[in-house]
Subunit: 195 residues, 2 copies
């Protein structure tokens, strides 16, 4: 499969970077074609422009600045998101990737009357690897897991009906021991070896 990996963290020596490397290596070893998209490394600008906003929700979205991202997304059989959760959501650079690239005419089609049809029929798998500073009970019981909700409902519901998704999440990362983070890294590596 052609797997688009979207990664968002500024530091090469971070745990997120280690997770990203494990994902890319395991996918490659399993024989997949990896399209590795490191948003920080490429200096992705996440701010939707005025021109893009004006063309938003029209039949002619302005994709001029994000054309290669659109092509990579359309060419993907599977998608992997790898990021740390900051302020209970995606880092701004990743949030803006969705704002600018996952628009009407690409990710979904907004029909007359407000009906929405999926736009990413080729996508068969969506796997997410993320780390939280907050403990699991705050995310799951109090906040009811906003990242999971957005990814499941948004991507699965809007863009592609038949995608199989899986989320690898490490909660309370600041309080974890080296052994615990190493165990999570290994779990991710083994998981992606069977992607």
């Amino acid at each position: 499969m052609r797997v688009l990996v979207i990664y968002a963290h500024p530091l090469a020596d971070s745990f997120a970077a280690a997770l990203h490397r494990a994902v890319v290596e395991a996918l490659g070893e399993a024989g997949h074609e990896v399209d590795d998209c490191d948003l920080y490394a490429m200096g992705f600008d996440p701010v939707m422009t005025a021109a893009e906003r004006r063309a938003h929700n029209t039949p002619h979205p302005d994709l001029s600045a994000v054309e290669h991202h659109v092509a990579r997304l359309r060419g993907a059989d599977a998608l992997v998101l790898c990021f740390p959760v900051w302020w209970y959501g995606m880092p701004a650079i990743l949030k803006g990737y969705f704002d600018r690239v996952w628009v009407n005419g690409v990710a979904f089609h907004l029909r007359a009357g407000g009906k929405i049809e999926p736009g990413l029929h080729r996508l068969k798998k969506l796997w997410v690897v993320c780390t939280y500073g907050a403990p699991w009970w705050l995310i799951k019981l109090v906040l009811r897991d906003p990242v999971r909700g957005v990814i499941h409902t948004g991507i699965r519901g809007l863009c592609t009906r038949h995608v199989k998704s899986r989320i690898f999440a490490l909660y309370g990362i600041e309080a974890k021991t080296r052994v615990e983070t190493a165990r999570f890294l290994e779990k991710v590596r083994r998981g992606f070896a069977r992607f």
Copy 2:
């Protein structure tokens, strides 16, 4: 009161812009001192830098690039957020305002052992004005309102215990008539006149 208004939309002729103007006018007429922060107009860069990330969660956060935003936040008695909800969350430019400005040492204090103490004791009020493309049932029943959860739990729980919050939300904006949007605008204006 000194009210910091954080606004995020690229178009001056948008409904979000009309809401922003109504908020600023009503606050001014009610005698408040308005510190109007238009993130798009000032070209705010929402991408947390490598240096900022490295200093994150240390006793010495790197605030060099966002010092004036930190000062404005610390000087505020009340906060207003005015934005459209894109992809079930804040626009990237606003998400990154939280990522970069609302950090340890400013919005909260991360103590040894992982305990978190509020950092914004001066904040007494938090009002939010937002618009959704999605209908209310999807946001509230399916997604369980991720924006509300993040704002209530994150800001109220982490940064200031005694803040009074109110959210003005217009759902399913694409399907609303002019009369309905005008009614919402008027509701916001009347609300902020009694801020």
